[in-house]
């Protein structure tokens, strides 16, 4: 187990290095610079700006400076568009909002997905089973950027239960998280149903029943720990999907999170902010994937020997 984690940690390093380097050079080779704005600046001002941000140095020098600051100080540099603010400050400001949105969405996805999936598997071919597959179908076929506006149209504008946008009170959290969580609840429900059906026919479940364990205990103690395995392996892609999904959700609901900031910074050519956000998201995804892998091995003894 320890060796497994150590090996995976070592694998992460080249992945992250590739991401940082590729993004760094991709941005530098882009046609047009960060200061090619609507207002043309005089060459003198441009030179001063470039000197201020170190863009006049040779490219490899810029790269080593950036990497050095990143590795030794965790410093992502100054923002090109928000004068006097650093990328670290902006991320510290916006990231908690996105994390909150993502965490609530993931919670919704797991809570409803698991419940629907377990009921669908236990009461196979019943009303609940069809209900669960219908919900799953909606989640898979109606993308967030259609579902979100539709929910706003109905619940916020027509019924007036929620605000159409914003992120101020707890009630503002409901629609965005529900929209984002719905898709993944659908997948979780499908995977849980499949996993449970496979497990429920196995001998050890019969053994548990024969010992006189209550049906509740059989399902939640014995079956679920095996039936949940496909869901665990789906968590990696789900987390990555929720992160990118937040770009759209934060745009629709005008939530001041990092997702919207990332899209804006890309449009504004705020190179350092783009770079910083990509590094952050990539590291988050890679590290969360590692945790998911570890949990998977820990829960499934069969994998330990591979």
């Amino acid at each position: 187990m320890f060796r497994f984690i150590a090996r995976r940690l070592l694998q992460i390093i080249p992945v992250l290095w590739v991401i940082v380097t590729a993004t760094f050079f991709m941005i530098r080779f882009v046609p047009g610079g960060p200061f090619t704005a609507e207002k043309a600046v005089t060459p003198e001002i441009l030179r001063n700006l470039e000197a201020h941000y170190g863009l006049d140095k040779p490219l490899y020098q810029q790269y080593f400076d950036y990497m050095g600051n990143l590795l030794f100080h965790g410093d992502l540099g100054p923002s090109f568009k928000y004068a006097s603010r650093t990328v670290n400050e902006i991320i510290a400001d916006k990231l908690p909002v996105s994390i909150e949105l993502g965490a609530i969405s993931l919670g919704i996805a797991l809570f409803f997905g698991l419940i629907l999936g377990v009921i669908a598997a236990v009461k196979r071919n019943s009303f609940f089973d069809y209900l669960a597959s219908s919900v799953a179908m909606i989640g898979i076929c109606v993308p967030t950027f259609v579902l979100g506006p539709l929910l706003v149209l109905f619940f916020a504008i027509h019924l007036g239960w929620f605000n159409a946008s914003g992120w101020y009170t707890n009630i503002d959290r409901v629609l965005p998280s529900a929209t984002l969580g719905m898709v993944y609840a659908a997948y979780v429900a499908r995977l849980t149903r499949g996993g449970m059906l496979e497990v429920l026919n196995q001998d050890y479940i019969r053994t548990a029943r024969a010992k006189g364990a209550s049906e509740f205990r059989v399902i939640f103690r014995h079956a679920l720990s095996g039936g949940i395995l496909p869901v665990i392996s789906f968590l990696g892609p789900a987390i990555a999907g929720i992160l990118t999904g937040s770009f759209v959700i934060e745009t629709i609901f005008q939530i001041p999170g990092l997702g919207r900031e990332f899209v804006n910074s890309a449009f504004n050519r705020d190179y350092t902010l783009v770079l910083g956000t990509v590094i952050l998201y990539a590291s988050l995804i890679v590290i969360l994937n590692l945790i998911v892998d570890v949990v998977q091995v820990w829960l499934n003894p069969k994998l330990k020997f591979e």
Partner: protein
């Protein structure tokens, strides 16, 4: 089970030679029994034909503006209403469909080509080459590719060719894994050995003998890749990074509709429904094909 006793005379009926039924015929038969998959297939055919020919016979063009009319609700003249510039939504939807479906098909073709060649090569050679090639795939799986596609679109212009190349370059990974697994499993079968024993070259064995035999899974995953690709295109267009005006795709129409839905609900509802219906059809057709061709689900 009825058994024929030796003493019994063999019934003298003309023996009808049973028609050999091929894998494809069996699959077709099974597919045609799957109502929801047939529904999906028919919907897709109808939609595609409507998108190709609809705009040609309509009396409106997708860019004709009628500023006096402005946004109007669905009516006899404009079946699905008009947008704020007075353009007919029905025709715009069909023209947008051409782009959405077109991008879906082209990007899938890119993904298919890369994925099949890569996966087949890794599976055929095996050993160290395979380990190295699949390790690259593993690493790429871990990368947040959607973010890179966004960066590509922002920095290198929102060009439609780049769009589907970028999407295709993201979506080939699963295809490569599936093809590799399939190739591995047929590699040691006799007919491949036979092909090798008569001295065929590696390329010929891969493309003439192996790939046709793993066509089933390839078809299934191609069908399932198309909706994923269309979703990504619409996602980018929704963020304003995909298809640019005056061209429109379903993603662009949904974006416009979402901005104006408070007053003009039809601008959101119709593009959203058509898009969802298409995703639904493609997903269920893919699922149906998977069952019909009896492809083991290696995804979930």
């Amino acid at each position: 089970m009825p058994t024929i006793l030796p003493s019994e005379p063999i019934p003298d009926v003309p023996i009808e030679l049973e028609q050999g039924s091929s894998l494809w015929r069996d699959a077709w038969h099974r597919l045609s029994k799957n109502k929801i998959a047939v529904f999906g297939g028919v919907t897709l055919i109808v939609l595609t034909i409507a998108c190709i020919f609809g705009p040609l016979i309509s009396s409106y063009s997708y860019e004709d503006q009628d500023l006096y009319l402005g946004a109007s609700a669905p009516s006899a003249e404009h079946w699905l209403g008009t947008d704020t510039l007075g353009r007919d939504l029905f025709v715009r939807l069909l023209v947008g469909g051409r782009i959405s479906i077109g991008v879906g098909l082209c990007a899938t073709l890119v993904a298919l080509t890369i994925g099949v060649i890569y996966g087949a090569t890794a599976g055929f050679f095996g050993g160290k080459i395979d380990a190295f090639m699949m390790r690259i795939v593993d690493i790429m799986y871990a990368l947040p590719f959607t973010i890179f596609v966004i960066l590509l679109m922002v920095f290198f212009g929102r060009n439609i060719v780049l769009l589907f190349v970028a999407i295709g370059a993201v979506e080939w990974l699963t295809m490569a894994r599936i093809v590799r697994g399939q190739i591995m499993s047929i590699k040691s079968m006799e007919f491949i050995e036979a092909a090798r024993s008569i001295g065929l070259g590696k390329r010929r064995i891969i493309f003439r003998h192996m790939i046709p035999n793993v066509l089933g899974p390839i078809i299934v995953y191609t069908t399932l890749t198309i909706p994923a690709v269309m979703l990504l295109e619409a996602f980018l267009s929704f963020l304003g990074l995909g298809v640019q005006p005056p061209l429109s795709s379903w993603g662009v129409l949904i974006k416009d509709g979402a901005e104006k839905m408070e007053e003009f609900w039809w601008l959101l509802l119709f593009p959203g429904s058509v898009f969802s219906l298409t995703l639904f059809s493609l997903n269920f057709l893919g699922d149906g094909l998977r069952d019909a061709l009896d492809v083991q689900s290696s995804k979930d």
